[in-house]
């Protein structure tokens, strides 16, 4: 029995030590994300910061959208970050989308967006996007937060992580120098990123009563918005999870008690 426990303990130790060693090995690669503890990452009471997400949408629209698509988001879904119906109609109408074929002529004409439309991409196809961006297609942002280790913190780090590389930094860059047209960013794998720093003081103007649009504030806001875009049902999921877990805890207790009682009746112990 004790030997069994010792060996089981060893299995556990191997299980815990190996991955932590692996993580330790990775630590030298990318620095820790400065921004942690997002309100939507909480277990109980998880929620998206609605005001930040709305400001984040403004940044997406005015800055990111020039290069990055957001194919999976329809205007109607912006309800999820607290926009009202008239606001959504106005936002949709501020975009131009390809309409349906004209009933008489069969021509396809552009028209202002409607709530059921998906946010249109700036580029007609990936080839056009590549042609305008030095051959690299700017990735779609709909799922970016879920497609990167670190989630919203990763986005925040990338947006705020640009700086002039030091000699020490360049040692980590393959080839020892930043290629033409690329930029140094310690949070990106390989530390070289094609995207120029997208945020700068004064690039957007927030409406009256909102916080000042510093780079950090904007990074926080747009990261919050993209986190919502990647997982719009998160609040519902975690809220439901709390109820399910509470319910199953009670059920398990009752079932255990029933089992013990039956055991006593039929086995005598």
């Amino acid at each position: 029995m004790t030997k069994k426990n010792i060996l089981a303990g060893m299995a556990l130790v191997v299980g815990l030590v190996i991955p932590s060693l692996a993580f330790a090995a990775n630590e030298g690669e990318e620095p820790k994300h400065p921004k942690q503890g997002w309100p939507h990452e909480k277990i109980i009471g998880a929620h998206y910061d609605r005001a930040a997400a709305q400001r984040g949408f403004q940044i997406y629209k005015e800055v990111c959208h020039a290069c990055h698509s957001l194919n999976l988001i329809a205007f109607r879904q912006l309800e999820g970050i607290g926009f009202s119906e008239p606001e959504i109609k106005a936002i949709a109408a501020s975009f131009t989308v390809m309409g349906e074929p004209n009933m008489e002529t069969g021509d396809v004409e552009e028209r202002p967006g409607k709530p059921f439309d998906y946010i249109p991409s700036t580029f007609a196809n990936p080839e056009a996007a590549a042609a305008s961006n030095n051959g690299a297609v700017p990735p779609d942002l709909s799922l970016m937060v879920k497609a990167r280790e670190g989630g919203a913190s990763y986005i925040y780090s990338i947006l705020t992580g640009y700086r002039e590389p030091t000699a020490e930094d360049l040692k980590h860059v393959s080839g020892g120098k930043i290629p033409d047209g690329a930029h140094f960013n310690p949070y990106k794998t390989g530390h070289v990123i094609a995207m120029p720093p997208p945020l700068a003081e004064g690039i957007v103007t927030y409406t009256e009563g909102q916080p000042a649009a510093s780079v950090e504030q904007m990074a926080y806001d747009v990261s919050t918005f993209l986190a919502w875009a990647a997982e719009p049902k998160l609040e519902q999921r975690k809220h439901m999870g709390f109820l399910i877990v509470a319910f199953l805890l009670i059920t398990s207790g009752l079932l255990f008690w029933s089992y013990k009682r039956i055991s006593k009746q039929v086995l005598g112990h």
């Binding site: 030997k3 069994k4 060996l7 089981a8 060893m10 299995a11 191997v14 299980g15 190996i18 991955p19 692996a22 277990i43 194919n71 999976l72 879904q77 990735p139 709909s142 799922l143 879920k146 497609a147 990167r148 280790e149 794998t189 990647a230 719009p232 049902k233 519902q236 999921r237 975690k238 439901m240 999870g241 709390f242 399910i244 877990v245 199953l248 805890l249 059920t251 398990s252 079932l255 255990f256 029933s258 089992y259 039956i262 055991s263 039929v266 086995l267 005598g268 112990h269």
Partner: protein, 408 residues
Amino acid sequence: MTSTRPFEPKNGFVKWFDRQLPLFSVMHGALVAYPTPKNLNYWWSFGSLAGLMLGVQIITGIILAMHYTPHTAMAFASVEHIMRDVNYGWLLRYVHANGASFFFIVVYIHIFRGLYYGSYKAPRELLWMLGLVIYLLMMATAFMGYVLPWGQMSFWGATVITNLFGAIPFVGEDIRTLLWGGFSVDNPTLNRFFSLHYLLPFVIAGVAILHIWALHIPGSNNPLGIDVKGPQDQIDFHPYHTAKDAFMVSLLLLIFFAVVCFAPNYMGHPDNYIQADPLVTPPHIVPEWYYLPFYAILRSIPDKLMGVVAMFAAILILFALPWLDKSKVRSGTFRPIFKQFFWVLVIDVIALGFVGANPPEGAWLIIGRVATAYYFFHFLILLPVLSRVEKTRPLPESISQAVLAKHA
């Protein structure tokens, strides 16, 4: 196994129905009056739990198929359509995706329980082998299911695995083309994988019925590994095991839903939220966690064909286990040396899992080779030798005596 309680229905319809088709008697025999050894522990509940997870997967899967589109241009978006627009779609999809992992967790515990207590030994060899068939079918089903969302890991996982067949001498290339329906993993591949992913769970259900049938002929093994001597050693399945299994089901669901609701992507890979791109390989391709030990075996051998052979041999070797381990004593409880090596095997398989998750270089490569060598050593050399030389501890007279002694 004769039932201790004969089936005597009171309901007229049941009587009439059962005379013509004894469905109710069979169910009664399997779920109510099935006599089990008195001393089964909690590890014996994992068979029922595996059945539950199969049910969860089939039900959620059928519903998801109603909303999913198996086409390379639309598959990725249709999964996101499920996540965003279908009512409770996110719940169904997360339950299905994590359900696969939990099905494997439950089945792995079930398999290791069988390994420890010698449940593969006579007269249960066929039962064991049917279980392995289920396990193989599960691996195939899960592999094809992972391709369906058409993310980067879906695509590259499918590419790596289907390329394994290219290692077969002479006909490998043709088999690979036949699997793909083209010159690479593409739309025809996605389509046929969807078809088979829908079909195989029902085949699993069929083999599971055979597995239960083959269980009910010799009856369950037990932690002492000794044969049942008479009714004093036994207890009916209902109400004792139904109550016990119900508790275990609730406990499993508790953990399962905690993961589904609070960490649904923990066992997934971020790259699978990037749509498949045949021209870009992700920097590090890893299969789902439940394949990692076998993936590690594949990579620990530098020759392509031999790597593939070793990987399949690692699974197929388990079919021969009843004849490799000839020890008359079933339960590891009475086999002091076997017991220790059992835990070494557990550690070995976990270590192989970590090796499979990491790039095949440096220390990982060495650990992988050592662990692979041990895996085969354990089954091919250690167990046959051990079953001859090991001095086992004395077995108790009977189950009821041991139970009484324990609770005296």
